[in-house]
């Protein structure tokens, strides 16, 4: 049951009689790195706790709402991983065929699993997860039009969020520590530059299609040397157009994401395409077995800032369809040009009504010092995350 808090406080502000709904989670995480660190000062273990409550205050019969979702993590090892963020702090106004939201929010674009190439609105909270799934709240004015001919999302994005980086003691970092306090920008407006984005998406039967454009500050920084033993992020201006398409044909999901991006120093194309096949009811059980394969390509080749320049991702997902919602995901991304790969196993299951346990293991290997994965090659990791939901 959701805890409802009496509206006494709210009525003091003459808001309509309503109640705040609060939900969220508290989690305890242990990360252990099994190999000795590659760089000095790096630790081998980190324990952390995180909290993420979500407050939801509706009025006008839910047509309007205020949503507030702060987040904080306290980490025993890495000062940069001890951090907080406002994931959401927004007013949303919902109508039948249009919606408007104003404030901090998170928006996801895309269809593929091995990387989220076209997902460009939010900055990555890189210290949170290895796969970069976790994002930082982005200030936005966001209008959605929901029409027969598709959904249009228009964004004005005032204000920029800088990427987070592991600190000196943290693992999963570049050889030289990134100093985020010295971030530099191409635009004289720096983090106050106003960005724009527009997306159209539509379902045609078995096909889900999206086309998007973005113009503004690149979410991905160029890391530049600074003070001999540090790096600083440099945020250029860029624009890109992208598409993401999924065809859902029976047990087969066919997926593609592609973009063309023009920045200050280069312009290039990149793409990721592949499939997910689901074998339903494996060997007369309730278990579904998913087989995934995606090919990642970047025109810049070995000069690309991403490890996904010519890489094949192979994965398998076991969904147990049990009472506890248990799942296991196994994946390997292998570079096809040089000897480099990363592998992961993720498993999760529920205990009772409130608890979820996640286990994660990552393996990294690279023999080429110019490869972005090289600096992670000794960061093989086991992670246990126990989360309480309320």
């Amino acid at each position: 049951m959701k805890p409802y808090f009496a509206a006494a406080l709210l009525s003091a502000f003459h808001l309509p009689a309503t109640a705040v709904e609060i939900q969220g989670s508290i989690s305890l995480q242990q990360r252990s790195f099994v190999e000795s660190a590659q760089f000095s000062h790096q630790g081998d273990n980190q324990t952390s706790i995180a909290i993420e409550p979500e407050l939801y205050l509706p009025w006008n019969d839910g047509q309007d709402a205020f949503i507030f979702t702060p987040f904080a993590r306290l980490d025993s090892l890495d000062d940069e991983r001890s951090h907080w963020d406002i994931q959401e702090a927004k007013w949303v106004h919902l109508r039948d065929d249009w919606e408007f939201e104003l404030g901090l929010g998170i928006v996801f674009w895309g269809v593929t699993e091995s990387q989220h190439l076209v997902d460009v609105i939010n900055q990555t909270d890189q210290v949170e997860t290895v796969n970069g799934d976790r994002k930082l709240g982005q200030p936005m004015a966001h209008l959605s039009l929901i029409r027969d001919w598709g959904v249009v999302n228009a964004f004005i994005l005032p204000g920029f969020r800088e990427r987070t980086f592991a600190g000196e003691k943290g693992r999963l970092r570049t050889p030289l520590v990134v100093n985020p306090d010295q971030a530099q920008y191409e635009s004289s407006a720096k983090a106050k530059h106003i960005d724009f984005a527009l997306r159209w998406s539509r379902t045609f039967g078995d096909w889900d299609v999206g086309v998007a454009g973005f113009k503004g500050t690149d979410r991905e920084p160029i890391l530049q040397p600074y003070n001999q033993n540090e790096l600083v992020p440099y945020y250029q201006q860029m624009w890109q157009i992208s598409t993401d398409i999924q065809a859902t044909l029976g047990e087969w999901l066919w997926k593609i994401e592609a973009l063309h991006k023009e920045g200050q120093f280069e312009h290039y194309q990149a793409g990721v395409a592949g499939f997910e096949y689901t074998l339903i009811g494996l060997a007369d059980t309730n278990i579904d077995l998913g087989l995934l394969s995606e090919y990642n390509w970047d025109q810049r080749g070995l000069n690309a800032s991403t490890p996904y320049q010519n890489d094949l991702f192979l994965g398998t997902r076991l969904v147990f369809n049990d009472v506890d919602g248990s799942e296991i995901l196994l994946g390997v991304a292998r570079d096809l040009e040089q000897m480099s790969y990363s592998g992961r196993i993720e498993g999760s299951t529920r205990f009772g009504q409130h608890w979820r346990l996640n286990l994660e293991a990552w393996l990294f290997y690279s023999s080429e010092s110019n490869d972005p994965l090289y600096s992670l090659k000794d960061d093989d990791m086991l992670s246990i995350n126990l989360e309480y939901f309320f």
């Binding site: 959701k2 939900q23 989670s25 939801y56 509706p58 839910g62 949303v92 919902l94 039948d96 065929d97 919606e99 998170i106 928006v107 996801f108 269809v111 799934d133 959605s144 929901i146 959904v151 998406s201 379902t203 078995d206 889900d208 999924q246 859902t248 029976g250 047990e251 087969w252 999901l253 997910e276 689901t278 339903i280 009811g281 309730n286 579904d288 369809n321 049990d322 009472v323 506890d324 919602g325 529920r350 009772g352 009504q353 409130h354 608890w355 979820r356 989360e387 939901f389 309320f390």
Partner: protein
């Protein structure tokens, strides 16, 4: 390669035809009862309900899920439904959108609140369990006459009510069942009981409907409200595993003003 496959596929086709042919055509009595059943349940336009799902395993341990369901009647095709999960707490806010179809796979989308991601999912999982329960997705999707071929089996009494006993053979090759036997009450054409037989023709599950309640919905033509019957309790028992699931419906509301627009995938993230 063809030389190997052609005879095999021919054999399969012949065997299949031989096996199915007695039931390829519905008998008139079975079909007309089912057509009347559908007719009596047409015209409710939209509905919303709150559900509690109680799962019991073979050892008697139970767990509960709470969800809300919104349904939109679609003329000439399967209905649209939106399920929003409230508990277990780790899936709170997860929303499941399904457009069921009379023939072919359903369209299904899942909203994952942690990633703010809407995912289109493979929908040949009709026979898969819904939320780890003993209900399969296909057990919960809307009844459409074309989904089965019918065979009238006779009359029977269920809890003092006179029923017709009818065999249903799924027309969809992806159904998890070889057949269903349903007991339809003769007064209101409501299903009182369904037996599910697995692909090997063994009895798999029994579903009983109870605590029926009538809801009145104003019709576009005529002054009379039409009555729609809904069971507040659905209890399903798996005879092969000993597990069972009870589904308690509450706060059923009809004709709530929902439209196609409310079942757009882009609205999943605002489902609450």
């Amino acid at each position: 390669m063809k030389k190997i496959y052609l005879p095999l596929s021919l054999t399969v086709a012949l065997v299949a035809t031989a096996a199915i042919s007695p039931v390829l055509a519905s008998d008139n009595q079975g079909l007309s009862i089912m057509q009347e059943r559908k007719l009596r349940d047409t015209g409710w336009r939209s509905s919303e309900a709150t559900l509690a799902m109680h799962l019991t395993n073979a050892q008697g341990q139970t767990s509960t899920r709470n969800l809300r369901m919104k349904n939109l009647e679609v003329a000439g095709d399967g209905d649209k439904s939106l399920s929003i999960f409230d508990t277990p707490h780790d899936v709170q806010g997860t929303a499941f959108l399904s457009f069921s179809h009379v023939t072919g796979a359903d369209d299904q989308w899942l909203y994952l609140p942690a990633l703010k991601r809407v995912k289109r999912i493979a929908s040949r999982n009709k026979s898969g369990p819904f939320m780890g329960s003993e209900f399969a997705y296909e057990d919960l999707s809307s009844f459409e006459v074309e989904k089965y071929r019918y065979q009238y089996l006779g009359e029977a009494d269920i809890g003092g009510e006179k029923t017709w006993k009818i065999e249903n053979i799924p027309t969809d090759q992806y159904s998890g069942y070889s057949k269903l036997i349903t007991w339809i009450d003769q007064q209101h054409y409501r299903v009182l009981k369904t037996e599910y037989y697995d692909r090997k023709s063994a009895l798999l599950k029994t579903l009983t409907f109870s605590d029926y309640q009538a809801y009145e919905v104003k019709q576009e033509t005529g002054d009379e409200n039409k009555r729609f019957w809904r069971a507040n309790l659905l209890a399903i028992e798996n005879h092969q595993t000993g597990k069972s699931t009870k589904l308690n419906f509450s706060e059923y509301r009809f004709d709530t003003g929902l439209t196609e627009a409310d079942f757009n995938k882009s609205k999943l993230k605002r489902a609450r």
